[in-house]
Amino acid sequence: MRADGSSKFSKQNRWGYFPAGSLGWIVSGEPFWNQPLGMNFFKLRASYGVTGNNGIGLYDTYGSYSTGSRYNNNTSVTLGTMPNYDLRWESTEQLDIGFDASFFNNRLRVAADYYNKLTRDLLFDVTLPDITGYSTATSNVGKVKFYGVDFELSSRNIAGKNFEWTTDFTYSYNMNRVIELNDNGISQNRINGIVLGDGTQFGGIAEGERLGAFYGYLVSHILETQQMADDALYDALSRGFRRSDRLNSSSNPALTGRKDIGDYEWINRPGSTKNTNGEEIINAEDQFLLGYVTPHSTGGMTNAFTYKNFSLSISLDYAFGHHIYNALQMRYFMATFGNANYNLVYDVMDTWKQPGDQTKYARFTINDPDWGNRNYSRNSNIFAQKGDYVCLRDVRLSYSLPVKWIGKAGIKSAVISVAGNTLHYFTEVDGVSPEAVTRGGLYSFVDTYDTEYNPYPPARKILLGLKLGF
């Protein structure tokens, strides 16, 4: 049982009480155990506990006011963050059931766990009605369930006099589901969704849905002919640039929405807003689910070999079942020379150039966000990449020098080793590490660049080692 107090909450909600307990039963220790299937050890485990989260800002409970603006040269106070005295600890109760088992004199060990976490009073930024004068407030919003299994296997495959081979393998499956949100009158009590013209919503978080979704435009096809460009849907984000007349909306606002040959035609979302003539258009409502940022499966495998004085270990790890938004790659295609000074990547050479080109990349425009039709200056499925990867994480080869060679020098042991870290990713993600999630968090949009667009590449290390013992 623990009690945690946080000054970030108001007095009446300051303390959270978090009990925990666990039970274990070594079944193999009972007199009736007769080692079925060669199982020499078997333990059943169960635990239950509650943990708390106070991850809110310093001013989320008491609110804040802003100073610094002036009116007629007088100091002023304006509204900053809405106070919310009702904020309280987010609590998570976790039930864990599992077993440990060993076979054949501990040559093979297996452990498996099932967990089920229920988070209550989830701390989440909620959009407020505009009459409050605030846009969002951190609030306790409901219940989310996290569940999954963990599996571990450890085996001494060969245990000879000169040669030994062991394998460790882990696998975790993790999933989540929003169970309940505060009643807000919207279908599934959706929060922070994108609202369509017909009043329905998608996106944000909603009851029955998974957290960590991200959204963007979906490409239908590339416009191959002038006729297709003329017939294309009005695209609210398009600057209306055409190579034929070199004009765009900065000289004539009426050109906004126009498309050119080589542009993407985006898929229209049913139910989205139409123009005043009742025709479909493309605007921010026409987005679709591009993927989830959290992998459902993670794990790793290590094989270790020992032969006489040599030893070799090879570790892999992996994550499957998620997408990442590769905004760095997108940035290269946007080519905003004006302020970002980006080099291009070779992939830009694969962009569409003339009718008949078979490519997934639309026409390339210098300074696409300001001068072009924003084929690349919007989140779309073109840069939402499957995040699955297997990483060759660690390879280590070492050799222990025989004692007879080094004993004369007064050295008791000497090991020479060469090791490599993060040597290779097997993945479809271009350009950046599939792990380089540097912006956002579990509940919000995540992509592979930070706000400075300068993620560090994954560090690949080669280490040479000499270890002496005296």
């Binding site: 049982m1 008491y62 100073t67 007088n74 106070v77 009605p129 505009d130 409050t132």
Partner: protein, 482 residues
């Protein structure tokens, strides 16, 4: 047994550790929060300034969209072509719920701070002067905001308490327009109890500013809401409290716009470099690329782009009487464009040149004494005191053309037309003629597109913004705009 007593001991210890609870009473003093705001009179004063900052943000651009551009006398700028969809539909009365100017958010942000002042200002123990200042200004600002809201959108949420917790009812539905207007009346009455004659700063509430708001409100209730004669009397007494005399008007019309807080000004939202500049006037001036270089900022004020310009009809009205001293201020023009092209622009709120740059620091004029004279003429018209109405108009025409008897016919229709025309000429680009046209039921004579939709319900209102509906499931679009 010993184990049980140990467990018991730990429970006792756990219960006793509450001694450190006080250490958690941490006030974050590096910023103002609800725990260290609202301590003394300076907090109230600063919050009052905050409400005026919000009011300035609310109105600095949109005042013309809500209070003038729908009057049918404005159209595209830059050679009569440059307009965007939000602007064109504002003129034609075909706005949709995503129109950039359909949002009331800024008004409600202003109201929220006023509501907080009203709550804390009445609880805090401060000097009577500090309390009068805070409560008077908060009631005044709230009345002004709800008056604009009720006239722009009709029914509207009536938030009378500041928002301080998500457990408050934030999802307010729209109250009937009549209730919103009745709240305006209540706030004006409350403000009268706090706003004293010692309050003379023309950038915030004064007895004169409150009287103008009251007169405008009462006339609206009388002429538009048809609430009866008592409102006409209310308007009369409000104007009477101003002790009008021609000496209150500037002799030089231009001084009104160049002299901050000059004698004719009753209430103006303050602007200055480093604080707040621009607003609607930045959409009325030319982009330099269209002008001959010698005229850039010497003859013709420049800004990003001219998006709004008078219609020919308005120009003809403005320049209709020779020697009208208002015309050059209302309408600057000449062959200053590249290649000698004739360019024109609304010329009142041109700010000033500072270090070779045009700074649009003109104040946003809310009320001035010429407006009081025109309201006075309108009141007398409703009283059927036509000679009296013409006498009040005469003060305006005397300054404008040196003719106190410019209008002579005392026929009902002629007097009303004279009042409307003088309003349109006197207040170009000041953001209030739309309301005059509604009060006098003359909108239809000036905006043909609206006239063609006269039977459409609520055609004189604005739709409420889709973004507001999206964030509040209790809001329903205005009938006629869905």
């Amino acid at each position: 047994m010993k184990q049980i007593s140990n467990i018991f001991f730990y429970f006792i210890m756990a219960a006793l550790t509450t001694g450190c609870h006080k250490k958690l009473d941490i006030t974050q003093n590096n910023r103002l929060s609800a725990s260290n705001m609202w301590q003394d009179a300076s907090d109230l004063r600063n919050a009052v300034n905050g409400t005026y900052i919000y009011l300035r943000n609310t109105l600095k651009t949109d005042i013309l969209y809500w209070g003038e551009y729908r009057n049918g006398m404005w159209g595209p700028g830059t050679n009569g072509v440059l307009h965007d969809n939000n602007m064109a539909t504002t003129v034609s009365g075909t706005m949709n719920s995503t129109n950039a100017f359909a949002s009331w958010t800024d008004f409600y942000t202003t109201i929220n701070e006023a509501n907080l002042i009203l709550k804390y200002g009445s609880e805090m123990s401060v000097t009577p002067e500090a309390k009068d200042f805070a409560l008077g200004n908060a009631h005044f600002v709230r009345a002004l905001c709800y008056f604009w809201i009720a006239r722009i959108w009709g029914d509207a949420p009536l938030a009378l308490e500041g928002f301080e917790s998500t457990s408050q009812d934030m999802y307010l539905a729209r109250s009937p327009q009549a209730e919103v207007l009745s709240q305006v009346g209540a706030d004006i009455a409350a403000a009268e109890g706090y706003i004293k004659t010692t309050m003379t700063d023309k950038t915030i509430a004064t007895p004169q500013a409150l009287a103008m708001l009251k007169a405008e409100y009462a006339l609206w209730m009388y002429a538009v809401r048809k609430m009866g004669d008592s409102y006409l009397s209310m308007a009369e007494s409000a104007i009477a409290s101003l002790n009008l005399s021609a000496a209150l008007l500037e002799t030089s019309y231009g001084n009104i716009f160049t002299t901050k807080r000059g004698k004719e000004i009753i209430f103006a939202l303050h602007q200055e470099n480093g604080e707040s500049t621009g607003g609607f006037s930045s959409q009325q001036f030319w982009n330099r690329t269209y002008l001959q270089s010698q005229h850039i900022n010497t003859t013709v004020p420049i800004a990003d782009n001219q998006w709004w310009m008078y219609t020919t009809r308005y120009i003809n009205l403005i320049t209709g009487v020779a020697n009208d001293i208002r015309a050059p201020l209302s309408y600057g023009h000449g062959p200053y464009g590249t290649g000698g092209v004739e360019v024109g622009w609304a010329n009142k709120f041109i700010g000033q040149m500072i270090s070779g740059t045009r700074v649009l620091n003109s104040d946003i004029i809310m009320y001035r004494y010429a407006g009081a004279y025109l309201l006075d003429a309108e009141i007398k018209y409703y009283r059927k005191n036509y000679p009296g109405a013409l006498a009040s108009l005469g003060v305006i025409t005397n300054r404008a053309y040196g003719q106190p008897n410019h209008y002579t016919s005392t026929a009902d229709a002629d007097v009303l037309n004279a009042i409307v025309e003088e309003n349109l000429k006197e207040f170009t680009s000041e953001g209030n003629t739309w309301w005059t046209l509604i009060r006098t039921d003359k909108v239809w004579d000036y905006n043909a597109s609206l006239a063609s939709q006269k039977n459409k319900i609520n055609i004189l209102l604005w739709p409420i913004a889709q973004s507001a509906i999206n964030r509040n499931y209790n809001l329903v679009q205005t009938e006629g705009w869905n």
